[in-house]
């Protein structure tokens, strides 16, 4: 009897999975950016953006699971100020010659109905890996009239302590450990 029930449950699960199969989305490079924000001497906020990145998202809306894999080219740092790009990329901070990529692999998706509200995973930066949870401020899917495909995305944020990744520059003279990641993301259904 128990065996029969287990078999039935397994069949039901397979049936459901087959009904709403996971969909894969490729990140749209024109609407996917990682910007960091960090306080400057208690006065204003410095911002920098990484321009080159690639990745895919797999979402199963029915099973409410997902997987996000993103690789960011750390040499594509863009602050608007060439001397900052150079300094932040140097051995004193990101050391992009040694660590030319940063990666985020998220495998714990939280949903509210159809909408993703959180993605938890691991961020590898500067050769070190620590858990990070990205919180959604906006999340939506739409049918792109130009691409004739479904596009899903939103705005995600996380505050990280950069010291955890061994990036401690300037902490003794007023540059905070905490920094905010502001992420725009849109991904096109494949």
């Amino acid at each position: 009897m128990m065996k029969k029930l287990a078999l039935l449950a397994a069949l039901a699960a397979v049936g459901a999975a087959a009904h709403a199969e996971p969909a894969t989305y490729a990140l749209d490079p024109s609407h996917t950016f990682v910007t960091f924000e960090i306080g400057h001497m208690g006065t204003s906020t410095n911002r920098g953006r990484f321009d080159k990145k690639e990745g895919t998202v797999t979402i199963d809306k029915a099973a409410k699971t997902g997987k996000l894999d993103v690789t960011v080219d750390t040499t594509s740092l863009n602050t608007g100020t060439p001397q900052f790009n150079k300094h932040i990329s140097s051995e004193e901070m990101l050391d992009v010659a040694k660590y030319p990529t940063a990666e985020f692999h998220g495998d714990k998706f939280t949903f509210n109905g159809d909408k993703v509200t959180e993605i938890a995973g691991n961020l590898t930066l500067h050769g070190k890996t620590n858990p990070v949870t990205l919180k959604a401020l906006n999340y939506n899917c739409y049918q792109s009239p130009m691409l004739k495909r479904e596009v899903c995305g939103g705005d995600f944020e996380a505050t990280i302590a950069r010291g955890q990744w061994g990036v401690n520059y300037g902490e003794n003279y007023g540059f905070p450990d905490n920094m905010k990641l502001v992420i725009q993301v849109e991904a096109v259904k494949q």
């Binding site: 910007t35 006065t43 204003s44 906020t45 410095n46 100020t81 906006n138 596009v151």
Partner: protein, 214 residues
């Protein structure tokens, strides 16, 4: 520019200032005028701040198809800021180089610069001119109200401080004041309504600014 209680001439003042800026290619400075006339600027009086090009940028944010937030950065912003904290007055004239637009994706930059959006060929600069400063009890700037000219169209704009602070900079050996300001506008008010409502009409401006006391 003499202070005037006449409304029409007050409204005209930013335009006159802008004309001066355009004519001379420089931002007129009241402090320099005072120095030229031989009057020593008292410590508590107006201080001219030179904008720090490494820490003075504007980023605009606009919602894309109700989904994510598209951002573009322009800068560094140039200009001068005059603040008299004791008298709770200020004056700012900014030139915003729209041709420096950088979204991080070059084809998008090229599209946004077209005549139906930023129109950077026709109007390579935007301007913000303001003399209506608000301060908190401690003397920090909380809001600056003035006129924003974009695509050659001038509209009232208020920039509110999310943060504002002054510090004695150890490296520069000077006082540095600045913060983060935010403003909101409708791009259709300036004739840049292409793509609404798919791309939102509402634009949020996020401005980082630091000025070095001269």
């Amino acid at each position: 520019m003499k202070p005037s209680s006449n409304k029409a001439s007050r409204r005209a003042a930013p335009v006159v200032a802008l004309a001066l800026v355009l004519a001379t290619g420089a931002i007129p400075s009241r402090a320099q005028d005072a120095a030229a006339s031989g009057a020593a600027a008292p410590l508590s009086g107006p201080i001219t701040f030179r904008l720090d090009p490494a820490h003075t940028f504007a980023t605009f944010e606009v919602r894309h198809l109700g989904t994510s937030t598209l951002r573009g950065r322009v800068g560094p912003i140039t200009g001068e800021v005059l603040v008299d904290r004791a008298a709770r007055r200020g004056d700012v004239r900014l030139r915003i180089p729209m041709t420096t637009l950088d979204t991080g994706f070059k084809p998008l930059d090229a599209r946004l610069k077209q005549p139906d959006l930023l129109a950077t060929e026709q109007n390579p600069e935007a301007y913000f001119v303001a003399s209506n400063f608000h301060f908190d009890a401690a003397g920090a700037v909380t809001e600056v109200r003035g006129e924003f000219t974009f695509r050659g169209v001038g509209q009232a704009l208020s920039l509110r401080a999310r943060s504002f602070a002054c510090r004695q900079d150890a490296m520069l050996k000077r006082e540095v004041c600045g913060g983060d300001f935010e403003g909101q506008l409708k791009r259709s008010d300036f004739g840049a309504g292409f793509g609404t409502p798919f791309v939102a009409d509402a634009v949020r401006l996020v401005i980082q600014v630091e000025g070095i006391a001269g």
